[in-house]
Symmetry: C2
Subunit: 245 residues, 2 copies
Amino acid sequence: MTYCVGMKLNRGLVFMADTRTNAGVDNFSTTKKLFTWNVPGERAITLMTAGNLATTQAVISLLDERSKAPSDRSPTILQLPTMFGVAQLVGATLKEVIAESAPSGQNASSFRASIIVGGQIDGGEPRLFLIYPEGNFIEVTDDAPFFQIGETKYGKPIIVRAYEPDMTFEDAVRLLMVSFDSTIKANLSVGLPIDLQLYETDSFTCVEEPRITAETPNYQAITQAWSEALRAALDGLPPYVRDGR
Amino acid sequence: MTYCVGMKLNRGLVFMADTRTNAGVDNFSTTKKLFTWNVPGERAITLMTAGNLATTQAVISLLDERSKAPSDRSPTILQLPTMFGVAQLVGATLKEVIAESAPSGQNASSFRASIIVGGQIDGGEPRLFLIYPEGNFIEVTDDAPFFQIGETKYGKPIIVRAYEPDMTFEDAVRLLMVSFDSTIKANLSVGLPIDLQLYETDSFTCVEEPRITAETPNYQAITQAWSEALRAALDGLPPYVRDGR
């Protein structure tokens, strides 16, 4: 599996993705799942993938190749005027790859993938979309301000409780580190290192933070402190009072 | 879905089960998923179910009816000399019900269910088993001292971090309340009220604690304090230090 989170804040967007891929437990490796297309000052687009690796790599390659040879099929991801158009293009490309992978009549479910894509294009606001294998998509709202793909369940409760739209980037990254740590500790199919990008509204520049590994002191400090803080938080709760007999 | 946890402590066993059942979001109700067979002083057996409701109800009814009319097929759950035998009986009954529900050639996956069964029979130790739809089963070990069935992912990280074999019953219940609260807040298919049983080694008596509802002051106090403690724990972590740019 995979674990990726895209989050919309008042000040911009946060993207975090693990890097573990596996086909069975005896065949796993590290693969980047976070990709960017950036025209400084004009557009910054970040995309994260979960699902069948052949499918997601083909989608990225197609988006990339077509942006370099725009005569093939235009406008490309580097030319589209809006983020809505980018979401449509990514959705159409994903649907096309899945359809091509599945021989006619065969169930396409093995080839499925999901994508989070977000960013900003000059003239519009920062937007964040979740793209389904069918090619359609939804956008974040104030009520549902983040998207998760892959192994989403372990790390959801803490985000649900602690997300605030006016968080700083630093607080959002710390929250996501905790969410990722909970997932990594509970599920072998999600693993370090973690890729991280921050997008500040109207900057039109993707800022890629250093990859987070098990040796990153900041990550070690935060996850270690979180383990201790959780234990302390539990110990500090009111006691359960037995009523039975 | 469902969320049930069975946990083995040095001092005994803890069983906690939610009560929501649903077939689609427009058809849900409250159903007990925790059942006991108790011969005071001789045996105390607790069973929790997840999966197809028709399957699990049939399993419970069969175990129950056969214990009342032991001539039908003996020994029954009230006569078997060991918990291992009880696990075998429950597994065989589950497998039998699933096989009967699925017309020949039809995929039985819609009729599947999982069961946690534990307890103690005079002459043996307290034991706890997880029974698969295929009828086979595994037992808790020191390394894997608890079983979850149903929507297991949301509530797993906190148990993984905080379980200790020498916990008191009160601390274990508090930990499980937190695990259930995280699940309930993140997934509509798991809901209050919660059933709870505590089994103290060599007591041969199931102690059923009062059902936990949204109005239970102790549950309100613990989950409310947990929300606040989590926020405080996050705020108290070392900051994330941006390195980008």
